[in-house]
C-alpha cells in the first residue's frame, strides 16, 4: 500500500509532537506522526525526575508530565499518530517506508517530512576499555529504563563513567533505590552535564565526581566484580601510577549522545561533522527541500524546552512549505572559530529574526560571544562562564541580516 500525506513526522517524542502541533496550528491537517514506541513521549517517558519545563511553562515538571502536556495538544487537535511503528527508510523524493503489526510494511508519499528521531547513547565499543566483558555494563539510559519502566535494579554497587546528564540523574536514582554509587569518573577536566545536576544529583548525596579520570579496565567473568580507574594527563592518556581498583557490580556509561540519523542518511542528506545531525537553515530545513529536522536528531540539547522551541520552528516552516509560502531570500553561511564548536542553523536563507544555538568546546570564563560580518562586529555578548554542557544562544535581528555586507557570519569566543 502507498498512502499519501502532506506531512509525515518521524518520531512522537517532544520534538515530533511540538512540530506536529505547530504545523497543525499553521493550517496543516493531513499530518501523520510515526512513533516506534508503544506511546507518545519518547525518552521523556523514562525521565521521571523533575526539572523539565522551567522555560516553557515556568514550572518544574517531570519528564512524563512535560510529554503529556504536548500529547494533550496532539489529542485535542486529533492529529493522527501510529504507535509501535518503525520507519525503515526515507527516499530523497520523500517516500517513507514503515512497518507495524497492523499495517505490515507500507509506504507513505509525503509532501514534507520532519525528522524527529532523537538520539542514542554512545556505547562502550569506541572507548576501547580493556578487560573482560561480563554482565553489568549498561548505558545510563538502559539502566534508567530497567529501573523506571520495568521496575528492576540492574546494580547494587555502581561506578559511573562519564558525567553526562543521564549519568548524573542515574547516580541519584540508583542511590534513592538503595544502590551504592561509588564514583562518577569524567575523562575531561570538566563535566558535560548541567551545573544544577552536579549539585542536586552528586553533591547532595556525597557522590564523588572524579574529573580527569577514566575506567581503564573491567574485571569479572560473569558479572562485573570491579573496575580499575586512573587519572589521565592533559592529553587524556591514563597515568599508570594512579591506577586504583574499585569493587563494584555495575558500570554505567554516560559518555555522550549521538543523533540517530540513519534515516537522514538513507534520504541522501549530508550531516554536520560536529553535531552529527543534518545541516539546516533557520527553518531547520535540510538540503532537501521540504525535509526538516528538529530536536536531538539535529543536535543534542541540554533542555527539552529548547527542543520544543526548535521543533515549532520546523513545524511552522513545513506548513509554510506545504501551503507554498516563502520569505524573501538570502544566502548566509555561519562559521565558527573552534571555541564555538558548531551553530544551528548552519546557514540562513531568509531575512528575518533568527536565534542561533551553539555549544562551546571547553569551559571559558569572562569572555565575549562575538558575531562578525567580515570585520564588522554585529553582536558582542559578555559571559561570566560558558561550558560545553550548556547550550548558548544569540538572536540575530532582521535588521542585522539585512544590513550585512558579506555572506558569512563568523561566531567566536574572545577574551
Amino acid at each position: 500500500m502507498c498512502i499519501k500525506a502532506d506531512l509525515v513526522i518521524i518520531g512522537g517524542g517532544p520534538a515530533g509532537m511540538s512540530a506536529a502541533v505547530a504545523a497543525y496550528d499553521a493550517g496543516i491537517r493531513d499530518i501523520i506522526i510515526l512513533e516506534r514506541d508503544k506511546s507518545l513521549g519518547g525518552i521523556l517517558r523514562q525521565c521521571i525526575h523533575n526539572g523539565f519545563g522551567l522555560h516553557r511553562f515556568k514550572e518544574e515538571l517531570t519528564g512524563p508530565e512535560y510529554a503529556y502536556r504536548y500529547e494533550e495538544q496532539v489529542r485535542e487537535r486529533n492529529i493522527p499518530f501510529k504507535l509501535n511503528t518503525m520507519v525503515l527508510d526515507i527516499t530523497p523524493n520523500k517516500i517513507v517506508t514503515a512497518m507495524n503489526s497492523e499495517d505490515g510494511l507500507f509506504n507513505i508519499q509525503a509532501k514534507a517530512i520532519i525528522l524527529a528521531m532523537g538520539c542514542r547513547e554512545r556505547p562502550k565499543g569506541a572507548l576501547n576499555i580493556a578487560g573482560t566483558r561480563p554482565a553489568g555494563i549498561f548505558t545510563a539510559g538502559t539502566a534508567q529504563k530497567f529501573v523506571n519502566m520495568d521496575g528492576y535494579m540492574p546494580g547494587k554497587k555502581v561506578v559511573i563513567l562519564g558525567s553526562g546528564d543521564i549519568g548524573l540523574i542515574m547516580a541519584r536514582r540508583m542511590t534513592l533505590e538503595g544502590a551504592e554509587v561509588k564514583a562518577v569518573c569524567e575523562l575531561m577536566p570538566y563535566s558535560g552535564g548541567l551545573a544544577r545536576n552536579i549539585e542536586q544529583c552528586l553533591n547532595d548525596f556525597g557522590i564523588p565526581l572524579m574529573l580527569s579520570h577514566t575506567v581503564v579496565e573491567i574485571h569479572g567473568k560473569e558479572r562485573v566484580t570491579g573496575v580499575t580507574i586512573a587519572k589521565v594527563d592533559e592529553r587524556r592518556r591514563p597515568i599508570p601510577e594512579t591506577r586504583q581498583y574499585i569493587e563494584c557490580d555495575t558500570l554505567l556509561l554516560s559518555v555522550g549522545l549521538l543523533p540517530e540519523n540513519e534515516l537522514t542518511k538513507s534520504a541522501g542528506i549530508s550531516l554536520d561533522r560536529i553535531t552529527g545531525g543534518a545541516v539546516v537553515d533557520q527553518n531547520r530545513q535540510t538540503q532537501i527541500e521540504g525535509v526538516y529536522a528538529c530536536g536531538n536528531v539535529l543536535h543534542v540539547h541540554d533542555l527539552v524546552d529548547y527542543v520544543s522551541e526548535e521543533s515549532e520552528i520546523a513545524g511552522k516552516a513545513a506548513a509554510a512549505y506545504i501551503i507554498g509560502k516563502s520569505a524573501a531570500g538570502t544566502s548566509i553561511g555561519l562559521t565558527t572559530d573552534g571555541k564555538v564548536r558548531y551553530t544551528v542553523p548552519q546557514r540562513i536563507t531568509a531575512k528575518e529574526d533568527v536565534t542561533v544555538y551553539f555549544r562551546v568546546a571547553d569551559v571559558y570564563r569572562d569572555v565575549k560571544i562575538v558575531v562578525r560580518d567580515g570585520d564588522n562586529v554585529i553582536i558582542s555578548k559578555k559571559k561570566q562562564k560558558v561550558a560545553p554542557g550548556e547550550m548558548e544562544t544569540v538572536t540575530l535581528t532582521r535588521q542585522m541580516i539585512e544590513g550585512m555586507s558579506g555572506d558569512t557570519l563568523s561566531f567566536s569566543i574572545e577574551a
Binding site: 518503525m86 576501547n128 580493556a130 578487560g131 566483558r133 554482565a135 535494579m153 540492574p154
Partner: protein
Amino acid sequence: MFDIAIIGAGVVGGMVARALAKYNVRVCILDKESDVAMGATKANSAIVHAGFDAKEGSLKARFNVRGSEMMETVTRELGVKYKRNQSLVVGFEHEREEVEAIYKRGLANGVKWLELLDKEALHALEPNLNKDLTCALLAKTGAIVCPYELCIAAVGNAMDNGAELVLDFEVASIDKKDGSYVIKAADGREIETRYLVNSAGVYSDKIAAMTGDADFSVTPRRGEYMLLDKECGNFTERTIFHTPTKMGKGILVSPTVDGNLLLGPTATDIEDKEDTSTTPEGFATLFDKASDNVANIPVNKVLTSFCGLRATGSTGDFIVKERDGVVTLGGIESPGLSSAPAIAEYVEEIFANKGVLGEVKKDYVATRKPAHYFRELSMVEKNVIISKDPAYGRIVCRCEGITEGEIVEALRTNPVARDLDGVKRRTRSGMGRCQGGFCSPTVVELIARERGIPFESVTKFGKGSVINYGRTKGDK
C-alpha cells in the same frame, strides 16, 4: 546410554554432531557453557581460508583445502551466510620472497585459483590499501562465513535429526566401564557412552588426559579483535592478510558476512584457558598492524572489541586420532573453522569404518531454515507473515531491524537461545550501533516470557551473568 558423546559444542563439535546424526545412532553433544559456540568459535577471524598457509602434507593443509571445498555446500544446506569474497596476502617489497613462497606452498597444497599480483593490479583491486604495499597473492577461493552462525546451524540440524544437546555440563572425569565410558560432570550428572569425540578446543588436552592420553598439550593463544560499524563494511572487499609470521597469519582486515569490518587478531600465548580479556597493548597492536595493510582505518567507528583463545597444540599441527573408542580432535586452532566440515567428514569415516554408524536415517534432513530468512523477503512476502503473526511487524532491535517474531523464533528453534547473548548471536539483535542499549530490556522481557522464568533470572550468558538483581523499592 549414548552411542557417541561429543565433548565441546564449538564449530568442530557441531559439524561432527551433524555428520553423525545422519545415522541411526544416539548422539549427544556436551558443553560446559550455557550455549553452543562459546569458545574460540565465537571469537575468531570468520574466514574460510583458501589453504595456502599450512605446511605441505600437514593435517592442517589437508583438512583446510577439503573443508574450503565443502564449505559452500555445507553453508547452503544449513542456511548460513557465506561469501566468496576472495583473500589477498599483501607484502612490502622486502616481503616479496615470502609472498611468492606462500604462492608455491598453495600450489603444493592443491589450492586452486591462486594468482600473484603486481603493485598496480593490487591497488586497482583494493583502493584503500596502504600505498607502500608492492606485492600480493590473490586467492579466489578465500571466503567469509559467520562462525557462530555456522555452529548454531550445525548443532540445530544435528538436533533436528535427533542429537541431544547437554549444556552447563563441565566434564570432571571420564572413566572406562565395561566397554563404555562414564562421563561425570562437575555438578554430579553422569552420561554413559560407547564412543567419545573430544572436540574441547583449548581444553582438548585436559579431556584427552582424562582418557589416559597425555601425549599433547594445548596452549591458549590470545587473539584480540575489533569490530567496526557497518559504515566501514565496504572499506575493503577482500580479506587482507599480511605475510604471516610463526605466531599466526598476522593481523587481517576483513569485511564480515553481516557487513561490518573486522580487525584482528593479535597473538599472545597465555596460561589461563579462560582469560579472554582484552588489553591496551592489544588495541595498540591492532591499529598499528592493521595500518600496515590499509590506510586511514576509521578508529572511532569501533563497535566492540573481543578476544578469543586459539587452541594451539604442542605438535604444531592438528592432533586427530582414534584410540580405544576415543576420537581426539586436539589443538584445532586456525584453520579450524575452514577445516571443520572436513574434520567432521573424517570422523564420520572413522566411525563408519568401525561399523558404528549403520544406515542413514530414513527421515534424515540435511537442510535447515536460514535464521535470517525474514529480512531477505519482499514487502509482499513480509506482509503475508505479519498478517499471520503480528510479532513480525514489531521491530525490537532498531539498529539491525530485528523483529519480535525473529527473536521468538530464536527462542524456540534448535538449539534454543536461553540468554541475551544467545539471542544476539542467533538474530543480531543488539549487535548494531547502539550495542543493545535500546533493545536489551525488551529482549530480556521476551526471554522471560518464552522461557517462563522471572525477569530477574534472565542472564547475559548463563551462570552468574545476571542482568538485574530484583525489584526496585516501589515494586517489591
